[in-house]
Symmetry: C2
Subunit: 349 residues, 2 copies
DNA sequence: CCCTATAAATGGAACGTTCCAATAAATCAA
DNA sequence: TTGATTTATTGGAACGTTCCATTTATAGGG
């Protein structure tokens, strides 16, 4: 039943016995059209199996209704959540979000951004791939397309950022470990090409400083931000002359890796070595032992980023305030039993 | 430095002192242009910060270079893997894949499909949302846009499907459990509005049949395909008069839920109750105890689906062969120790 | 009844490309 | 030299919309 050439607004006009302008008006839901005419036109639209050509429309209209979301790693549920959060609000605003994955590859990212721009996106939300060069977004900025960074930032950029309070999260987690009585602490995973790394590590070091853990008792082990990386970090740490008794991990994946390595050595996370993660992915709660982690509410940040973007588009600006999202430490089993409580229980027993 | 109105091909032509046709030819990498002219034009393109308007181009060209991937749940790493697999091959083929998430919502799916069509996609790969109505893809089919289903299928549709061999996977898993000596088996999770459910359940029942597990000893518990659902299934099963000793779960999420419920009852998955999952997500390997699961290679299926789509586009057809992907059972700890081996070990001890 | 105000519908010129047909310039054969 | 051939370049007509400026139909006021 498919007519060979796809139907256009003119075919509808012919079918309904009106002009193309009338059809266009109906398509846009204009109130200028007599209801019966509109109905007639809508029927014709249905009959010919018309599909609206947004490309042609955008040739005339200033703005398109599509927004690009460029994500560095979609297989990481943490970033997938971010994307889903954004989608929710765009969807409600009648905007179509297209997601593209860069797989943490700057070259890929370049291509994806180019495509999105060519598609005429109204705005771009990006969680930049690791190793993104500083100038990667210049073309987009000069083109005047609004852009915001989510989750990650670039070292020197003036582009607005929506990200969690990494520094504070790390401080909270580190304080938690120190209060548990740990005196030799490690920071596991991550590498210095990520701004986030410096923020989290900075919080760790600051908390150590203020709570009196001397520099000699702090161990920083860089590593891949994966389970594998976490395992390696733990091995490195335990091989030290005076090994730490607790670690704050760059993210949950690293933490899971560290716990796995502990299990392989027949050590128990929590009892023998305290582990704290970062991001609080869904899995953290269900792991065994359950992982203490810094929750960042990625879906919420996604929503926030989307709102900022919508506002930027609406007000035709390319600037916006940064937004740092609240974090909170979710204490579970992997950071060990609460010593004070244990003592108390024993006393009452 | 951004000029107010965005630059067009004509601005470049003026800048470079050539005609718009020449610029167009350069943009398409035509060999008809004298190299020095091409260089001059490319310089002008750079100078004016030109961005190609693909919408305008598509108005003339028959095909666009964008393909839509519609995924039912991006936060499920299983489907995210699928998307990433597809992306890999599209990327290599110079096609731009745009991902959209339907969040398992048919209404959302409808909107997303409409948008994608309006955008003029060259093809569509869809993992349909649960509860998709049979006619949901009619408009797309009549428009002659190639479409393939990945992972999931619709009951009566003639649209080509790329999916794992669910039936065989379930047979393998069930046989495995029966060989371990289990005589009362359960099937956990899923609901009958999914074709996949019938395939997997069918395999389970068939294996029971052929290996002599009577119908009375088979327990089928429908439920949400989530951890929560899995927990509920386990509770239901253990409440039975003669509870099963092993379960094949609809997917890994259900299996994780079942294991969690076991732990809450101080039972151990593997030793006290055998659990087998389906899909073999990355997490399965790292769970404790590690989950025995049916591996389906979602990334590989994604790649396959992408190849099929490319071929359909190239040969301007809307039909293609179905493809069922190989599955294999990955045996880990959750399905329990091998009894034969145990006995042997004891004898030799 | 004509004149004006309002409502409904319409023609036509953009929008930024592609690509065919045509032109202009350079090369070659005789 | 002249015409034929090849090589580079170019104008102009689409493509499917939107939207402004008009036209046409309908109603109201005197």
């Amino acid at each position: 039943m498919a007519s060979r050439a796809k139907a256009t607004i003119l075919d509808i006009a012919r079918e309904a016995g009106v002009s193309k302008s009338t059809v266009s008006l109906v398509l846009q839901g204009s109130g200028l059209i007599r209801p019966e005419t509109a109905i007639k036109v809508r029927k014709a639209i249905e009959d010919v199996g018309y599909v609206y050509n947004r490309g042609a429309a955008n040739l005339r209209k200033a703005h398109s209704n599509v927004i690009g979301m460029v994500i560095n790693d979609l297989t990481n549920p943490f970033f997938a959540e971010l994307a889903v959060g954004m989608e929710r609000v765009f969807q409600a605003a009648g905007v179509v979000p297209f997601i593209a994955n860069t797989a943490e590859n700057p070259v890929r990212q370049e291509e994806v951004l180019k495509s999105l721009m060519e598609q005429g996106v109204a705005g771009l939300i990006v969680s930049p791939a690791r190793g993104t060069t500083p100038g990667a977004f210049r073309r987009i900025e000069t083109a005047g397309v609004p852009i915001v960074f989510a989750m990650r930032r670039l070292p020197d950029s003036r582009i607005p950022v929506i990200a969690p309070d990494n520094h504070r999260g790390a401080v909270l987690a580190t304080e938690h470990l120190i209060r548990k009585g740990h005196r030799r602490l490690a920071f596991f995973g991550g590498s210095s090409d990520l701004v986030v790394y410096h923020e989290r590590l900075g919080g760790f070091l600051e908390a150590c400083e203020t709570l009196g853990v001397p520099a000699a008792h702090r161990l920083v082990v860089e590593g891949e931000t994966s389970r594998k990386g976490g395992m390696a970090c733990l091995e490195t740490a335990l091989a030290a002359a005076e090994p730490p008794t607790a670690a704050l991990c760059f993210n949950d994946a690293v933490a899971f890796g560290a716990m796995l390595a502990l299990r392989r050595r027949n050590l128990e996370a929590g009892a023998d070595f305290a582990v704290v993660g970062f991001d609080d992915v869904a899995e953290a709660e269900h792991y065994s032992p359950a992982l203490t982690s810094v929750a960042v509410d990625s879906a919420g940040l996604g929503e926030r980023a989307a709102h900022v973007m919508l506002k930027m588009i609406q007000s035709r600006t390319t600037r916006a305030e940064d937004h740092v999202g609240a974090v909170n430490l979710v204490v579970r089993e992997s950071s060990g039993p609460d010593r004070n409580k244990q003592v108390g229980d024993a006393a009452w027993a």
